[in-house]
Amino acid sequence: MMVGTAVAQPKGSVLVKNATVITIANGTLDNTDVLVQNGLITRIGQNLNAPRGVETIDGTGKYLLPGIIDAHSHLALTSINEASSPVTAEVRMRDVVDPNDIGLYRALAGGVTISHAMHGSANVIGGQGATLKHHYGEEASGLLMRDAPRTIKFALGENPTRVHGQGNGVHPRTRMGVEQVIREHFDAAKDYKHRRAATPTRVAKNERLEVMADILDGKILVHCHSYRSDEILMLMRVFNEYGIKNYTFQHANEAFKVAPELAKNGAHTSIFADWWAYKFEVYYSTSYNAAILNHYGVVNSINSDSDELIRHLNHEAAKTVKYGGVSELDALKMITINPAIQLGIDKRVGSIEVGKEADFALWSKHPLSIYAIAERTWVDGVTRFNLATDATDMRLNVSPVGTFEASIMSESGRHTDACMNDVLDFFTLETMDHNHE
């Protein structure tokens, strides 16, 4: 926890008048006003008046959409993969949040107000995720969504077997080995809990096994990188055996093959709209994945896994309408309330309802239109993006060294496999100027 440097999450007030409000929860309301007071939506209706000192925004002809939520992101992190060990449950992405990442601002410009900052997929059990509210301009601690449920990254398939089995000569070398690593660590966590309960002064607190035990106790939501249907079925079997519920398969390109099984287990999916063929296990894919999962009642979200794609998740959601005929409402749910459910924050965000946190964006047209532009984005009622008035350069932290060109080059864009960032770096044994950094 960033106790010492924690700052209160900012809250604002605003009245948006006469917009087309896509509530997600209660239909789309024409010519409607939304009043926000101290970060919360307090009234939705018509002819509302702004209390003294509260700014009024004219939403005539525009669309108010809940803030888009990206359930799979590596934005605003200074490191992504601790690729030295197949299990690194103890590491916390909240420790390495980079609040200065200009990508946060660009995401806001795409109406995205929350992202799930995840560990990469190098390890079978990676680090704990951080649910970030895009309070661009605040310190790292100000970005961490207060009281958001804890999450953790798991990863199946080629990535962990390639990094550890082939790269380091340790198990897992195969998909079977991946399963065993998971089982071994759950069993170790059970054993650890018993030993520590019996002799707490003799058994030191174990950062890694505490987290594993918390997963078993249902205190942490698992988000598992996966592609193939067989490994998806495998993990559901393992989780059923250990009594683990409320988990989400990330990527899940072959989830459509096992959609009924996913629905039966209450498992969620968070997928790309149409991104595949960047490695062998990702060839058997279809842009109808979302439609099929939706048809079977699986809570599915569309994610970015990319600092570039996160800027236009509305387009990605629109693809599900094109491929498979998903309804516009369901398509929008896949970037709002569904990812909120997967992150355990759906009671607070993901729709425009009285009592919910005021994360939303005002769009120039219907957000599923290719011509729609997010004109202004609020997080907890605070304007974090304003197309009309923001400065030319919104970078927060300009380095006193280096060139303009180099600074642009270093800003990340769409990678073929963002989940594997830092891994090559790990395999480099050359040292840098560590001592003097």
Partner: protein, 459 residues
């Protein structure tokens, strides 16, 4: 410039070798004169066995910024005996006459140097088990002493002395916990054997090792957590007297950290890294001295509130170019880069204004580059000359826990002095002597101040 008689006991002849006494004795041995002198001294001057040394007719600058014109300083046995305008020079003193033009300052202290220590290997080995590489490969060596690692012939020590440094806290180079810090008298090639204080605390950083756990700052943070849990548990078990408690030198070296009797000297520069360190402080309950802290100004209020001192780096970047451009985004960026440079150069000013205790650490900056950057602190950094001296002397001494014995030109303090031709570090001033624990060295070629622009490692 040297005057006065040299007397010493026969047993101490070797210590007086530099004063040509031996030459004097040998010359007069046949005449019997020297025999008389030696015999007489051995019975009458025993209480002051080692001769005094002195500077006369100098301007003495104290660490608090005050100065004493036309003053003298007397030291003996490495300790200052008298300072002031009306000081009686002992009859046995070797005197250097300042001729009313030399300036004497407290010797400079480096709060954390890497001088004389082995570089990190350029290529690390691939460990058999990257996930559990063992303490050493993981960069976890808080028990490691720096003394056996120091290179006796390190040219940096001569350079450091030529640049006015008389004490240096030195620690091994490495990753998250590379070893203990010890303080040495900067005495050229004798530095490695001139230990002043040993093992004052572990050096720490968020730097991961290569090719093994922990390799990233997030894993390093987790490793700190685990180390503190393990240390506290082992200490508890050992305290019970259990026969099977076991021993662990790494964990045991962290007991004083866990009990807050010794701080971690934690290297961190950017705001986010410093915040990460502060979050560890809150979670794990240890004390720190922040080292380097190039962007510490961004958290000056917080550091002041927590009473965390900073041994600050003055490794500053060159002033950025302001090339004209029609690109509005670039123009805005240029302006902001200038502002970022100014903020970094004014780092110490901001910290001092917030009430943070600030000392100095080179932390990799070459001794030869220090002087030029000191000039920038005055020209662009908003510091006065007196503040620079205080930074380099009493404040660093105080933060290192040696403030009562070093870091000022006062009676009873270590005889660590810097003598310059003009008020330091103003333009054109040159160091002509350093005195390290009483040993006076004439500096033939020290850099003069006043050259343009800071010097540092380029990014």
């Amino acid at each position: 410039m040297v005057k006065g008689l040299f007397f010493c006991r026969l047993e101490s002849v070797t210590t007086c070798f530099n004063f040509n006494v031996l030459k004097f004795i040998m010359k007069h041995l046949k005449t019997g004169t020297a025999m008389l002198v030696l015999f007489g001294l051995s019975t009458t001057v025993q209480a002051q066995a080692v001769p005094a040394q002195a500077f006369t007719r100098v301007t003495v600058h104290l660490a608090d910024g005050s100065s004493i014109p036309n003053a003298s300083i007397v030291w003996r046995n490495g300790v200052i005996e008298a300072v002031g305008a009306r000081v009686t020079i002992p009859f046995d003193a070797r005197v250097t006459d300042g001729g009313d033009s030399l300036h004497v300052y407290p010797g400079f202290i480096d709060g954390l140097a890497t001088w004389g220590t082995p570089e990190i290997p350029r290529q690390m080995d691939r460990p058999e088990r990257p996930a559990e590489p063992g303490y050493e490969r993981a960069g976890i060596q808080p028990e490691r002493a720096v003394q056996p690692l120091l290179k006796a012939d390190a040219a940096e020590f001569n350079l450091a002395r030529n640049n006015g440094f008389t004490l240096a806290a030195i620690a091994p180079q490495g990753f998250m916990l590379p070893g203990q810090i010890s303080i040495f008298h900067v005495k050229g090639t004798e530095t490695s054997t001139s230990l002043f204080r040993s093992n004052i605390g572990p050096k720490a950083s968020l730097a991961g090792t290569r090719g093994a756990y922990p390799g990233t700052p997030m894993a390093v943070m987790s490793r700190y957590r685990q180390l503190m849990h393990d240390a506290r548990t082992l200490q508890t078990v050992q305290a019970t007297g259990a026969a099977n408690a076991g021993r662990d030198a790494v964990l045991e070296s962290l007991y004083p950290v866990a009990s807050k009797t010794t701080p971690l000297y934690f290297i961190a520069d950017d705001k986010e890294s410093i915040n990460r360190v502060l979050s560890l402080v809150d979670e794990l309950g240890f004390n720190i001295v922040l080292v380097s802290g190039k962007q510490a100004h961004t958290l000056s209020t917080e550091l002041a509130r927590r009473k965390i001192p900073v041994l600050v780096s003055i490794d500053m970047p060159a002033k950025p170019d302001t090339a004209s451009t029609d690109n509005q985004e670039r123009l805005a960026w240029n302006t902001r880069q200038q502002a970022a440079w100014t903020a970094q150069v004014r780092n110490i000013r901001t910290l001092l204004d917030a009430g943070v205790r600030v000392g100095f650490s080179s932390n990799g900056l070459k001794p030869a580059d220090i002087r030029k950057n000191l000039d920038v602190l005055i020209s662009d950094g908003g510091l006065t000359e007196a503040e620079v001296i205080k930074l380099l002397s009493s404040e660093t001494a105080s933060i290192l826990g040696i403030g009562t014995v070093a870091g000022d030109v006062r009676t009873g303090r270590l005889a660590d002095l810097v003598v310059t031709t003009k008020a330091f570090p103003s333009k054109g001033s040159r160091i002509v002597y350093t005195v390290t624990a009483g040993t006076q060295t004439e500096i033939k070629s020290s850099p003069a101040g006043g050259s343009a622009g800071p010097r540092g490692r380029m990014p």
